[in-house]
């Protein structure tokens, strides 16, 4: 029966579509687990500035530029050791060396960059190197961005934090400094981007023979990768990719656990009857009174928010659900069929009858509800995440939605942040539902012609 049913699937276009989407998600999951192994994913997702420092904050995905007239800039990142970067060092006095690093880049986007950062790394014994950072614009104008002595091992200069520049460029308090630096006319009402070749010159003065200075320049763009970044500059790609295996595993395990256990319990209850059946019935009724989601929330707050604990709790709470009642009704019919009587007559044990004769009989009717159960568990996990009870370490789709909601993605217009994980969830859910509905029609002949 099962084999013929699988053969029949090809007559249902929605089943094929659903199955294809599910297989694509499975392929993505396998690809993700291989290319970004679990510890690596956690390291990246939990990492701070040291991992994501060079990414723009809240950058939209790069493909938004296909739909925009005004193209948004991508991030430009250069190291002082890169081949295209000019670096000159000369001694001008006994204990004074001058080291100039010039970063040259083309700026062609129609919008201003998000920020400009120069990270300085210095080694010295007593006297720290002194550095001036100068921006050379395409129109030849030179602007001194700032002077600083590199006292720490690593020092970051950010244009957005250099308030002195605001006065220098005569900007209002609500105008961005970076826009003033990259504008044709900073005094204009509507500032326009000055396109062309820009240079950032890092003029270092070193006071020791052994002292060294290296630097990194980043012009933060406003688009990043195919997924964009979040408020912590993290690449959303990691969360979107890792969300797939987590959602699939979670949904499948929860649906399988719930279906198999409730089927077994219903079979045992029906077969043994009497007080066993009575107890199972009573538990089911009590379970109906219990508020499931609040209990999960309480478990999440007080015991653990890890996905494994949640999975166990969800399965435990849904075993004695409505499905036990439908299964019981079917088993009651199965129990009175002649082949069960025959099995009893030749002396089959109780367990043999339950597990080898009764349960296999109803598997076809259970498969559709199993498939249909998967999206509901996937969405349950997302619900918990949206309530702030997502797994503390794993990146999931629901957690991205939660991050986006909590950090006001919608109010600030970062729609991609909310829509990407939502669409992923939606597509997964609909794919399983399409497959499930078709299977329902295949396995329940009464629905077939409808």
């Amino acid at each position: 029966m099962l084999r013929s049913a699988w053969g029949e699937i090809r007559y249902y276009p929605s089943a094929i579509l659903g199955l294809t989407v599910i297989l694509i998600f499975v392929a993505i999951s396998i690809y993700t687990i291989i290319t970004i192994p679990y510890p690596e994913a956690i390291r990246l997702w939990r990492g701070g500035e040291e991992v994501w420092g060079d990414n723009p904050r809240l950058a939209a995905p790069e493909w938004v530029n296909y739909f925009r007239q005004k193209k948004l800039p991508t991030t430009i990142k250069m190291l002082s050791t890169d081949p295209g970067v000019e670096r000159v060092k000369e001694q001008i006095d006994d204990n004074i060396w001058i080291e100039d690093t010039v970063y040259t880049f083309e700026y062609t986007a129609d919008d201003f960059p998000q920020d400009l950062a120069v990270t300085l790394l210095a080694t010295f014994e007593k006297k720290p190197p002194y550095v001036s950072i100068i921006l050379v614009r395409p129109d030849g104008q030179e602007i001194n961005l700032g002077d600083l002595s590199v006292r720490g091992q690593r020092q970051v200069f950010l244009v957005s934090q250099a308030d002195r520049l605001r006065q220098k460029l005569q900007l209002d308090y609500n105008q961005e400094i970076i826009a003033g630096l990259f504008a044709k006319d900073p005094a204009a009402e509507e500032m326009e981007v000055l396109k062309g070749t820009y240079k950032v010159r890092v003029e270092g003065t070193l006071f020791e023979d052994e002292s060294t200075l290296s630097s990194k320049m980043v012009v933060y763009g406003k688009v990043y990768g195919w997924a964009g970044t979040d408020h912590l500059r993290r690449d959303l790609r990691i969360a979107l990719l890792w969300g797939a295996p987590i959602a699939l595993t979670f949904g499948l395990l929860a649906a399988l656990g719930t279906t198999l256990l409730s089927m077994t319990i219903a079979a045992i209850g029906v077969w043994f009857g009497g007080w066993v059946d009575g107890i199972i019935q009573r538990i089911t009724e009590v379970n109906m009174v219990l508020p499931v989601l609040p209990i999960l929330i309480m478990i999440g707050i007080s015991i653990s928010r890890s996905l494994a604990v949640m999975l166990l709790a969800i399965v435990a709470l849904s075993i004695f659900g409505a499905s036990i009642k439908t299964n019981r009704a079917i088993f009651l019919q199965v129990k009175s069929l002649p082949y069960i009587e025959a099995a009893r007559a030749y002396g089959a044990s109780d367990l043999r009858i339950v597990f080898l004769y009764m349960i296999p009989r109803i598997i076809p009717t259970v498969i559709p509800s199993l498939v249909l159960g998967i999206p509901s568990f996937v969405f349950l996990e997302a619900s918990l995440a949206v309530l702030g009870l997502g797994d503390p370490s794993l990146p999931t789709w629901g957690k991205v939605i939660d991050d986006a909601r909590v950090n006001g993605a919608l109010l600030q217009g970062h729609f991609y942040w909310m829509l990407e994980p939502s669409l992923a969830l939606m597509i997964t859910g609909v794919a399983f539902a399409m497959l499930g509905f078709s299977l329902d029609r295949i396995f329940n002949p009464r629905l077939r012609e409808l």
């Binding site: 009174v289 989601l293 609040p294 919608l410 969830l425 939606m426």
Partner: protein, 379 residues
């Protein structure tokens, strides 16, 4: 319980006669047994909730720590206390802590108190909230619940009734026009219902509130509340559009699909064919031969819908910032306010039990196939 909807095995008159008990006695016995059973179910369910809400007594530890800190702070600000010698201070503090613990009932073991909680809950003496207050400032759980109930009933009542009525009418229309393009459309759109209402809420908020900026993000009324009743109603309606659309989007398609299939199965019964052959008008067939036998199922579904209305939906209300019971429940779990959690659960459990009980009786009235308390009826 609900499985009574599946027609019990028909009972022959002989079997009935064998019972030898008058019908009214059987009905009475059945009713009493059922009531006792349901009451017991509610007790167990509520007790489990009390245990879980207190985390088997762990919340007491949180309360103890809280009292210790509070007493410590209180005494530290007291000059006469600070003037005392250290041993004396320690003694005073312990005494004060004991006094407070007694006040909170913490001097008794949790197990004893849990049964007292149960008794209070079952008699609907809902007590006082520990941390939460109603908007009017009261700490009484009853007032908190009564204050939050109307918004929940209003929102979910409206949307549930809308979904119920719409899906019933559309599905009747579709089952009459089997194979119509609308029929195909609803069938192929039914997988959309795999996403819950709050999820559609997010989409709708993104489109209509964040992007088009035509409707509010959430809440029930604009701030500050409009003065005139007319404007008030208008503002309320404006805040209702998105939540109701989200609910309808998520539950309409599956509702229509399942009702339609259900009606189609019933309209392929032999007696419907005969009625058609007799030349009865299709309206009469629908009313007499399709709706009549499906009435019990329709009633169950309606009753369960109504129960759902009472609890509201935690996430849905959180997403839409709707000041209802679901959001209150969530806030209560966040601050371990067990009194509020148990109060809402008790209310829900009672309502569920009463509905199930009434359903049992209504079934017996509308569906003659259900034989109340007959020898073969086993639950």
């Amino acid at each position: 319980m609900a499985e009574q909807a599946i027609p019990a095995a028909p009972v022959t008159p002989e079997e009935r006669a064998q019972g030898g008990v008058p019908t009214w006695k059987r009905v009475l016995r059945y009713t009493v047994v059922r009531m006792v059973m349901l009451f017991f179910t509610v007790i167990v369910g509520v007790y489990l909730t009390i245990l879980i809400a207190n985390m088997g007594g762990q919340v007491d530890e949180i309360r103890r720590a809280f009292i210790r800190e509070m007493v410590g702070n209180m005494l530290a600000n007291n000059p006469t206390f600070r003037a005392l010698p250290p041993e004396e201070r320690q003694k005073r503090m312990e005494a004060e802590i004991l006094r407070w613990e007694k006040r909170y009932g913490l001097d008794q073991p949790f197990l004893v108190r849990s049964f007292r909680f149960l008794k209070d809950a079952m008699t609907l003496r809902l007590g006082r909230a520990e941390n939460m207050t109603s908007d009017s400032g009261s700490r009484r759980v009853r007032l908190i619940i009564l204050e939050r109930l109307p918004p929940t009933l209003f929102l979910f009542g409206t949307s549930a009734l809308m979904v119920f009525a719409l899906s019933l009418f559309i599905s009747l229309f579709l089952s009459r026009n089997y194979g119509h393009w609308l029929d195909r459309m609803f069938v192929s759109l039914s997988p959309l219902s795999s996403a819950p209402g709050w999820f559609y809420g997010l989409f709708l908020i993104t489109i209509f509130a964040a992007w088009l900026k035509v409707l509010p993000f959430g809440g029930m009324i604009s701030t500050p509340p409009p003065e005139t009743p007319w404007e008030y109603t208008l503002s309320l309606l404006k805040h209702l559009i998105l939540p109701i659309s989200a609910q309808v989007l998520s539950s309409l398609f599956i509702g229509v699909y399942s009702w339609r299939t259900f009606f189609l199965i019933y309209s392929s019964e032999d007696y419907v064919e005969i009625a058609k052959a007799k030349g009865l008008p299709s309206r009469t067939i629908e009313r007499r031969y399709i709706l009549r036998p499906t009435l019990p199922t329709i009633i169950t579904s309606f009753a369960l819908t109504l129960i759902g209305v009472w609890t509201g939906q935690i996430i849905f209300e959180t997403i839409f910032d709707w000041p209802g019971l679901g959001r209150t429940f969530y806030q209560a779990t966040l601050v371990y306010d067990t009194a509020v959690i148990v109060g809402i659960t008790v209310l829900y459990a009672y309502l569920l039990a009463i509905t199930v009980f009434l359903l049992d009786i209504i079934y017996a009235i509308v569906d003659p196939r259900v034989d109340v308390g007959g020898p073969r009826t086993s639950t």
